[in-house]
Subunit: 206 residues, 4 copies
DNA sequence: TATGAATGAGTTTTCATTCAT
DNA sequence: TATGAATGAAAACTCATTCAT
């Protein structure tokens, strides 16, 4: 049983969170490489070396940032984690819309997309692997849903669930990246999200 | 009529191309920021300053690289530029498969995806804009195809062509990014591509 | 009323001054171009990048150096700034000797002459302009003295005060440059200074 | 007896002179350090390595330039080399005016002043020594004239000829440097020159 | 012989991280 | 504990000089 945190300890955790929050801004605005540690500490209003009481180094901060983000994504997926929850096509469509909406909410914080999806290959291999692991997880979830739908018989029998799961997940993250384009506004992002769900279920053919 | 190039001029262009080719490797392997100019010149087997006879600076080289790439992508799209070419759903499906296959061929050079899609927000705003402009172009093409299909009457009347075009293009580039994952092999990438086309036309619903 | 400086602020200003002082040595010994930033930081005993906490760049340091010097020169001239102070030829001769002695004292720090007069056209146009502006100021002062002497009637009526002022100022700085010659010792510099004053007032004709 | 030069030899010497002439422009405009070898070769219209057929290196070219200049200065002084030529004050004054005019003519080519007097301490010790040697020579000449005048009895008996010679030579070169100031025009330079001669003989006192 | 492409040593400058206060 | 001054390693870039054609 963990004892209650002392004031100082709570204060420390809070400052850590403030740093992470500032890092969201700065990493998103300038990109990881261009973002200076002092850019972040100045935004928080602390001295630059205080940063090192909370993180080992700049790379460590990025880890904290993406862990926070990935946890949130995974939570959304996990909230719907009963792969066999959808008994009918209607259930599944409703579930998919819930997920799409939830993910869209997260993605509406464009900083996250900029940091996580915008520089996948621009940091280092470890970073890449983390993002790919998240992709894998999403694909596994999606494949589970599709397999369930096949078993239940409400999906086409001829779909390759693994490949289709990748296509669906690719569409989710791909549209999120397109949504970074400043020429696209929030409404258009929502419309795109809905179009993606319709595409997924019904396709475009008459 | 441009006169024939002298030997020296051809030699110069050839070296320029060798540098660009090496940059494909190095930028893809290490990312733009981590790639040193000397990493590239060493791979070509030239002195570091020779580089500067061919490019103004490292950033200028990246421009040459992405221009090369974007030109190739656009050429693929432009090769199918008759938006009204597809008279029937079958035509359109065939056309889409051709494009998907061509893009997949390009994307099979994973270096391109790593450089162009892997660090969109990690370089600078100008780089971002170039990639987004390419996305816009692809979306405009796709929307044209869809509008044609609507007019011809072989597509569902209820689709939002703009939003659907974004969903389709997002799927294309999104699956390309997923394809960077080393756990995915070339066959799986092809399967994903086919699944994407099927998804697009028929959806998953029975 | 400016509040007292904190210890850290004083420390910072002191280090800045130490860098400037080292720059006097190094710029004088090696010339601006040949002087490396590390030559200066090593002399101060600091790391090379510490320099950049105090100056924007090497050129900025030169500005600080010459500003310091020009301020000193101007202070000497300004200390005698009452152009109409000399009522008689004797007064004026005494005043001229005072100025000559004061300038000679400054010029005895040969580093100053080496930096300021030794590379007038060797840095950039901005540097040139600053030195020329200082010359102009000296000429204006001198012309003021001469005009006063004409009015008071103790100078030859036929002198062209503007041209003569340039000749006098040219002599001052010209002899300072000759004084850089290592074959000339301090005594000879003083003698030259006195000869210059005598020349100025009496000429050489019997 | 040197045999006549072949065409090729004459051509080579001519090109050498063209390079020197271009160097006058470029060294004067940009200063020695900022002047690139290619700036000079481009002005001549030759390839950069052709330069090295005529000069060992960039520094060697500067030597050729200043040797040319110093030779010209010395020729002017040597043209008047009979130190005992002036039998009367009038003779000497006339001689001084001739020298002043001749030097002024040379100095009207401001490039020379910019190169030779503008960066005395900005190149290296050898350059400095050459300029100082030229100063010494001029001082020795001037001291010879003054000694002659003393002996002949047409100059003040109380002048320190060595120190006065330095003052006079300092005035000559000092006013030449002031003349670089773009606010001073050719007429003013001539007036300054005359004022300097008058100052030298008569001083300013009534 | 003349060329200009290639060279690499050298310099300035940046920034994540450490340390003295 | 918090600070920010100090650090030094690293990297882009320049240019006098050489070399292959």
């Amino acid at each position: 049983m963990s004892r209650a945190l002392s004031y100082a300890e709570r204060r420390k955790l809070q400052l850590r969170d403030e740093i992470i929050e500032a890092a969201f801004d700065v990493f998103a605005e300038r990109g990881y490489h261009d973002a200076g540690v002092t850019d972040i500490t100045e935004r928080v209003g602390i001295g630059s070396s205080t940063f090192y009481r909370h993180f080992d180094n700049k790379r460590d901060l990025l880890d904290a940032v993406i862990t926070t983000v990935i946890d949130r994504w995974v939570a959304v997926l996990a909230a719907e984690n009963a792969a066999d929850a959808a008994a009918t096509l209607g259930d599944y469509r409703a579930q998919s819309l819930r997920i799409a909406t939830a993910l869209n909410d997260i993605a509406s914080d464009l900083r996250i997309i900029r940091i996580l999806l915008g520089q996948i290959t621009g940091i280092d291999r470890e970073f890449e692997q983390k993002v790919f692991a998240m992709f894998d997880l999403a694909v596994a979830f999606e494949a589970g849903y599709l397999d369930n739908g096949l078993q239940r018989g409400y999906l086409r029998a001829d779909i390759d669930t693994a490949a289709t799961a990748r296509a669906v997940v690719g569409m989710i993250f791909g549209t999120a990246i397109l949504g970074l384009n400043p020429t696209i506004d929030a409404d258009e992002r929502t419309e795109t999200s809905h179009a993606a769900v319709q595409l997924m279920f019904d396709g475009i053919a008459k």
